[in-house]
Each structure stands twice: as C-alpha cells, then as structure tokens.
C-alpha cells in the first residue's frame, strides 16, 4: 500500500488542454499538447490508426501485472463547416450531442487558425412573436465570418473545417471555467498520473472520437488488450435551481463520481467495490453517478475481445456539452489521488 500522496494534479495541463481545439475527428492539436506533457515520462508513445495516443509505462520493480488501461478522450463536441453560401455565409452541422438552443448567438473559433465566426439569426425586432418561441434548426443557422462572397470565404475556411466554442479558461476560488471539461478534465488527470512511474504496468490511452460513438476506444482496446480498464471522464453533474439534493447528484465539489451503470456499461462490480474501498481507506470523498445516464469509452472497452472488466471515475462538471463548463479543482486533485491509490490497491487485491 502506498504511503505517499501520489503525484499532484497539474492544473497547467487542464488549462492548456481546455483551451486547445479538438473536435471529434480533428484532435491533432490536443494530441500534440498531450504529447508535450507526457513524452518525457513514458516508456513508449504511439499514435494509432484512428489517431488515439497510446503510451506504455512499465511498473516500478518490473511488476508484470495486472496490466491496467487508463483512458480519457481527447475529443470535444463542436461543429463542422459543411457548406459555403454564395454570399460568404457558412453552413454547419453538429459533431456530437449539442442542445440546439445554445448555438444561436454563439461565437465560434473555426479551423486551424481559429478564425472567429458568429452564429447569427434574425433579431427579435424582425421576427414574429410566434417565431421567437421556436428553436431554430441547425440547418437554418449559419456562421458569419464577415466574408462578403464565397470566394472571400474560401480563402479562409474550407468544407470540413471544425469549429469550437470560443471560451477561455479562467479561475476563481476552487472553481475553474473552461470549454470541453468533458473530457479535458480526464485527459489532465491522466497526464498528471503518468508523471510518476506506477506500481503496475499501465497503458495510458488518450482516445479520439468518443463523442461520435465511442469509436477510438474500439481499436485501441483491441491493441492494448489490458487485464482491466478505468476510464477517466468529466461527467454531467446534476445541479440546477429547485432540485432536491438527491436529484442533483453528482455534485461539484463532493468528490470523484463513480459509475455503477450507464447506457453503455455495467461497471465491473468487483472493480467498483475496490475503487470505493480504496477511497474510503484514503479518506477521499466519492459519490455515485446517477445510473442509466450517458455512455463512455468504458462501454466499448468492456466488450473488446473476450471481455475486459471496466469502471469509470469522473470529475463532476456543470454545463458539459456547452460553451462554458465549471469544475471544482479539488475534485480533479482527488481523482488523481484516487487513481494513484487504486493502482496500489491492485497490486494486492487483483484478481
């Protein structure tokens, strides 16, 4: 059992990863940031056929097992430019699950150069009362980059360019605000954990295209073929005004959230039990994620090959899949600690 507190949570990773652009299918910039963060601390590093980053770290004392896969996804939800109108306006579509209502009036950063565009619509003065209550379908929206013609726009953007919310990381008290905490929080937790050599062999995977069908994790899990897997996520906290406490779980600031079951996965009962006991032993507060909600890479990994026991540990975040998310930095620190101590528990208690 480890006596030390484990590696700290490196907030600089969260800030860099959160500000970086990486919509599902276009994760290169985030991947480069992760490479820079971890390359000196891992034994091998490769980019797989779909673009996921796979890092292998041998254990202290050359322990052979259990071989643990730790996984966080690099991609964020966003939009893609799908057409350029003759007057220079851009047509766009969602990448991943986004509430259409947040699109209107939103500022986006488009393409590799982060050109800014605004999702405009007719102002309230010019539309009927009835239309003001309707949610605009994305097919009827457009991005305005200020171009006056198709030719002018084509010089700056292309069909296929990705766009993300134009949000900058900020901090006050224990609260952190930024875009894409789902799952840059998990990416930062994972990058922090691998700064120290673990007590069991670990393969860390920063996966691609989770938000469009848990896709990157499929090939990665087959390649890694671990003995067990833990996915690190930034998950939807349940808080909103007027909700009873038990309806608000998990709560920001109440510790890492553990998954029992979601739409993609029945978490391995023994592994979840070990995680919970480890947390209690090390006095790390945890909470339960609401069952039946969402899906993660763990669902895909659990069904890889002849089956992999899998679990999910999440940093609770408010307003995921929206431009500005919140998290409590203490939850991120606790998640790093929990993962670290779990790795030590595994040396004694697995299988």
């Amino acid at each position: 059992m480890s006596r030390d507190a484990g590696p700290p949570f490196e907030e600089r990773f969260l800030e860099t990863f959160s500000n970086a652009v990486g919509v599902s299918g276009g994760e290169e910039t985030v991947r480069a940031a992760v490479v820079e963060a971890v390359q000196d601390h891992v034994d091998s590093l490769e980019v797989d056929a779909m673009g996921s980053l796979v890092a292998r770290i041998a254990a202290t004392g050359r322990r052979r097992g259990p071989h643990v896969m730790l996984c966080a996804h690099m991609d964020e939800v966003g939009v893609m430019v799908t057409g350029i109108e003759s007057d220079g306006r851009l047509r766009f579509r969602k990448v991943g699950g986004i509430d259409s209502r947040i699109l209107v009036g939103q500022v986006f950063r488009i393409g590799k150069n982060g050109l800014r565009g605004v999702a405009g619509t007719l102002p309230p003065h010019l539309i009927s009362r009835a239309d003001r209550d309707k949610v605009a379908a994305i097919e009827d929206l457009y991005l305005d980059i200020g171009a006056k013609s198709r030719e002018e726009a084509q010089g700056r953007v292309a069909v296929g360019d990705y766009a993300t919310f134009d949000t900058t990381y900020e901090r006050w008290g224990d609260t952190r605000k930024g875009k894409a905490f789902d799952d840059r929080a998990g990416c930062a937790v994972l990058a922090s954990v691998v700064l120290r050599r673990p007590p069991v062999p670990v393969t860390a995977v920063w996966s691609v295209q989770e938000e469009v069908g848990l896709r990157g994790a499929a090939g990665a899990a087959r390649r890694v073929a671990p003995d067990l897997a833990v996915v690190l996520e930034g998950t939807a906290s349940g808080e909103a005004p007027g909700l009873a406490p038990e309806e608000s779980a998990p709560l920001m600031g109440a510790g890492p959230a553990l998954t029992v079951q979601d739409r993609s996965l029945m978490a391995d009962a023994r592994l979840v039990d070990l995680i919970e006991r480890t947390a209690r032993r090390r006095k790390i507060p945890t909470q339960w994620k609401r069952p039946g909600v969402g899906g993660t890479d763990a669902g895909r990994i659990a069904l890889s090959g002849a089956g992999v026991p899998a679990a999910v540990i999440s940093v609770p975040c408010r307003y995921i899949h929206a431009p500005a998310a919140y998290l409590d930095i203490r939850d991120a620190r606790r998640t790093v600690a929990l993962v670290w101590h779990l790795l030590h528990s595994l040396t004694k208690e697995w299988p």
């Binding site: 590093l45 579509r93 390649r223």
Partner: protein, 359 residues
C-alpha cells in the same frame, strides 16, 4: 451481343442493377458478381457470410500491404411477412425505403419461379376525404399478385424476398435511372478499378469486396467480418452520395456530373483523403468535398473500428433520388471514381504504417 468484358459502363450499370439480392439474400446476385469480377481478378472467392472477394496480387516485395475496397452487394427490399385472405401479401422492410414512393409501384416476388405483383392502391374516386394526404407506412401497404389465395399460399412462403421492378431508364445526357444504383454503381466502380489494376499492377495487394448487409443493421456485417478476416492496412468504401436537387441546402448534395465526392470527417483518415485529392490533381480531375460530421453511413464506419483500427476513406458517386426505384447516376461519374481509385492505389508507397511511433 457484346462480350462481357466489352460492356460499357452504362451496360454494366443496367446489368447489375437488375440483379436481386436483398440483405440476407445476396446470394441471388453473388454468382453474377463473381462472374463479373472474374474477368479481371486473379482469384475470386466467397466467404462465410456471403461477401464476394476479388484479389489483385500486387508486385511489391512480400509481405505486401493490403487495401480493402468495399461496395455493398445488397439492395433494399422486403420480405413477405404474411399472406392474408384474398391472397394479399404483407411485408417487412429490409433497409429504409422512402415510403412516399412505393404506392402503386410494381415489384418482383422472388419465389420459385418469380412472381410479379403491385403495391395496391385505392383510386381517388373511392378514397375518403384526406386519405391521400397521408403517407402510408410499410405496415399498411400490401401487395397484390393478381393470383388466387390458394396459389399464393402455395408458391410464396413467409420470408420470400421482394424487390422493386423497374427496368433501367435512359435519360438525357447519358444519365440512367434504375433501382439499386445504391450500391450497384459502387460495384461497377470496383469492376472498372480491377480492370485497370489488372493491366497496371500496384505494389499493394488489392481486395475488392462486394459486401453483404450494409443496408440492414446498425453494424455492417460484411464490412466488419471482411476486415477482421483480411486484416487490411487501408480500407476504402465506394457508395452513393446525395446528388443535387432543388430544395437542398448548400453542402447537402453534390452535383451529378461533378465527379467523385470525397468525404472528410472522423470516419476519414486525413492521410488517405489527402492522397486521393493528390491523385485527382495529378489527373486534372474535379472532385467534390463532402463534410461528414457524424460519419459516412457506409461500410467505412465498420471497417474503421474493426481489429486495431484501420485508416479509411469514402468515395461517393453522385446519385439523385436515393432509396427509390429511380436512383439516377451519370456513368461518367462512375468512370471517374474508378479512374481516381486506381490511380491512388497505384501510387501507394510500399512502406506504409497505419500507426506512428513517437517514442
């Protein structure tokens, strides 16, 4: 009559679109597809789930990398679900027809021997008010074969496949309208590609696969199992893309006659699509770029995530009126797709890694 290997692209499109082969019953078309591929391939085989695979052996030093090309052999259709009093037949769908386009259409019921029938309709004179405002879902449609119930029950067992009966129509400009251009046009692209590669062998091994069950379930059975079995280093799906028509917004369609359409997005490996664009430039060929934010809805979706992941791309043939009996394509687009594909495959370097080692 022309020899098979002298057929024009138009004739191949007509020939292949006439073949049956609904999901799960592709064997009704497989024999003809095998014969076609055999004109040019080194060997042709059928695998466990019914995919037809045609090999072109490359000239590079072994072990050679393998490229998998996929066009789906199945065409949307129906199965007979029940025979009712009066001899009327009720159906279950295989793949997604546009139900607005079925009423009154002729079909072939693939019993032994095949029987013609029609989707029954009530003439306007006998309709209730408002009845013609409503689109009928498949469960409410029925087939009438014009035969007595006893004969129908004897000749048409439950589970018999049904396809639309519409001979190919030649339109102006060489365009052709027929059922099942999705994805028989893709099979013609494979055929023309094999023809070129046979004369101009690439370094890589190329396996053209006419896949099964692309139209039916969430997982493309043929594409997934063929990838698992062949372990390719690259996969390209050839399927139809929505052709231009009024009412579509910018970016939703590609022009007929505008050449191959290349998808970009998560389902597409940037290196592969860049290679295809480079080949197009070398050929002086116009291509369209299609944004696919949530995937391509083709065999490439299941090729990409099989095994340890496979770099994939999609080449789209512009096609109007998809999932009807009058799917419309331009043979010139089909030829261009094959031309592009063969050039790209010929230019592939022997040293190719799907993964990139950083440390």
């Amino acid at each position: 009559m022309l020899r098979a290997d002298e057929r024009s692209t138009t004739e191949w499109l007509q020939h292949l679109s006439a073949l049956p082969g609904t999901p799960g019953h592709e064997r009704a078309a497989a024999r003809e597809v095998e014969k076609a591929f055999s004109l040019y391939a080194d060997r042709v085989e059928r695998d466990r789930v019914g995919n037809v695979r045609a090999w072109i052996d490359g000239v590079g030093a072994p072990p050679r990398p393998r490229a998998l090309l996929a066009a789906h052999m199945d065409r949307i259709g129906f199965l007979v679900k029940a025979v009712e009093p009066g001899g009327y037949l009720r159906l279950t769908e295989l793949g997604g027809f546009d139900p607005r386009t079925l009423l009154g259409k002729e079909v072939v019921i693939h019993s032994k021997p095949p029987i013609a029938a029609v989707f029954g309709t009530r003439p306007p004179h006998l309709q209730k008010p408002g009845e013609s405002e409503r689109v009928l879902p498949v469960e409410e449609l029925y087939l009438d074969s014009g035969r007595p119930e006893r004969e129908v029950r004897r000749k048409v067992p439950v589970g018999t496949p049904v396809t639309l009966r519409q001979p190919p129509v030649s339109l102006l400009g060489g365009r052709i309208a027929a059922p099942a251009m999705d994805d028989r046009a893709g099979l013609v692209v494979l055929l023309r590609t094999l023809e070129t590669l046979r004369q101009n062998r690439p370094a890589w091994d190329v396996i053209a696969v006419a896949t099964v069950e692309e139209e039916f379930a969430a997982v493309c059975l043929g594409a997934k199992t063929a990838t698992e079995s062949l372990d390719p280093q690259l996969g390209i799906a050839i399927d139809v893309s929505h052709g231009d028509m009024p009412g579509a917004r910018e970016g939703e369609t590609v022009p007929l006659g505008g050449g191959p359409s290349l998808c970009v997005g998560g389902n597409i490996h940037p290196k592969v699509v860049e290679g295809l664009r480079s080949s197009a430039r070398a050929l002086g060929m116009t291509v369209q770029i299609e944004g696919c934010p949530m995937g391509s809805s083709t065999d490439a979706m299941d090729i990409q995530i099989a095994r340890e992941g496979v770099p994939t791309a999609v080449i789209g043939i512009p096609c109007r009126y998809m999932h009807t009996g009058i799917e419309t394509v331009e043979p010139r687009d089909v030829d261009h797709c094959a031309h592009l594909l063969a050039h790209y495959l010929g230019a592939l370097p022997e040293e190719w890694r799907a993964t990139e080692v950083l440390k």
